[in-house]
Amino acid sequence: MASATSGPRWLLAELTYKCPLQCPYCSNPTDYTRYQSELTTEEWIQTMRQARDLGAVQLGFSGGEPLVRKDLEQLVAAAHEMGYYTNLITSGIGMDAQRVADLKEAGLDHIQISFQASEEVLNDRFAGTKAFQHKKEMAREVKAQGYPMVLNFVLYRENIDRIEDIMDLALELDADQVELANTQYYGWALHNREGLLPDREQLAAAQASAEKYQEKYQDRCRFLYVIPDYYETRPKACMSGWGNIFLNIAPDGSALPCQGARQMTHIDFPNVRNRSVKEIWFESNAFNVYRGDEWMRDPCKTCEHRHEDFGGCRCQAYQLTGDARNADPVCSLSPDHELVTQAVEKAQKEEMSRSVKVAFRNPKNAKQLLLNDSG
């Protein structure tokens, strides 16, 4: 097993799994209701301190919906004091002008607001609640209070054809940067994949639109378009490698090398409640097991790309092939690549369009899925 030579650079603090929204593309685990316990304010501050001492400098507050935590302002203030660059990744629900101001006062550097669509009907249907108008108001507020404004739109089968409306909305809100990110298939999104994965034609059109806007509005706004890895032949360099720069702390204090890792039941993930971040990062089996390249098998083991993409995403390899040491099946060199191409081919079928029912992320569905799994 390899060990790390330097500490984490990125800390993602998933403050809570609670969320007033119910996005079917949510990457939280489908069994999130099993993890009710949340770190206290003091425990979060101590964790942030320990990670900062190891060199972590980018800090994301995420969830669930981080605004659900009443101590968010306090955590931001502590993080700012430690010298972190602080990012809040939010749906905008639970925010008001006063909170935007209080967070600014606490030293928050950046707020990213996510939208589900370009207009109210689809947005609120996918959010599972009334949200669109409030998000727009909050985006304006964030801008007015002097934050850099980054909007995030997750793209899926039903909204991707309206990508130009999405970009127009972003321009109307005077965003500085817009992430147009195709769904990544983890957690709820994986469960709902059939209803979310767009077809080839949709993707080609979306990409062309994104390029058009990038060109036309390059002085006004940065449009970042992320294609879905299912349509690629080489995997993403997930997390820049397992245990390399990224540390994710789940609401209950579990330390994960990647947001999707929790599903790996063969790994005993350490918890910041009983081990120091330093010990977790450098010594735990969980962080060392897929570090470097010693764990690799063929085709990755001898592949010339293994230090560029690190064999892709371990969570994707695990959830699709059952073994995290396999190549990410997105890779065309993977013997399991057809697991991805089959899903892609299915997405091309006429009858797939619009009719597939997606499961919303909520406690009721979480319970149902747990029952299905165990039955």
Partner: protein, 86 residues
């Protein structure tokens, strides 16, 4: 942007010394770049008041033996294209 325009770091960008990386880094929404010492020297002189010429002068005062005029211009144009300066 003309040569006489005062240079300013883009809103949300922050220059910071990171002992763990033994380098200055430029931090921005959900991202960072590690800077080489020359880039860090130039960026640390960007204060919203100085223009390219004044930055070059200030740098020249610090490093009297180096010929810097081309370097500053080149860096500023790259930094502007990257969206670090506005």
């Amino acid at each position: 942007m003309t040569e006489s325009t005062a240079l300013k770091m883009t809103n949300g960008f922050r220059l910071q010394w990171e002992p763990a990386q033994d380098a200055h880094v430029l931090l921005y929404p959900e991202g960072m770049v590690k800077l080489n010492p020359a880039a860090a020297e130039i960026l640390s002189l960007v204060d919203g008041d100085r223009n390219i010429e004044e930055i070059t002068e200030a740098l020249q005062a610090k490093f009297p033996d180096a010929d810097l005029s081309g370097d500053v211009k080149e860096f500023v144009s790259i930094a502007t294209a990257n969206g670090w300066l506005s």
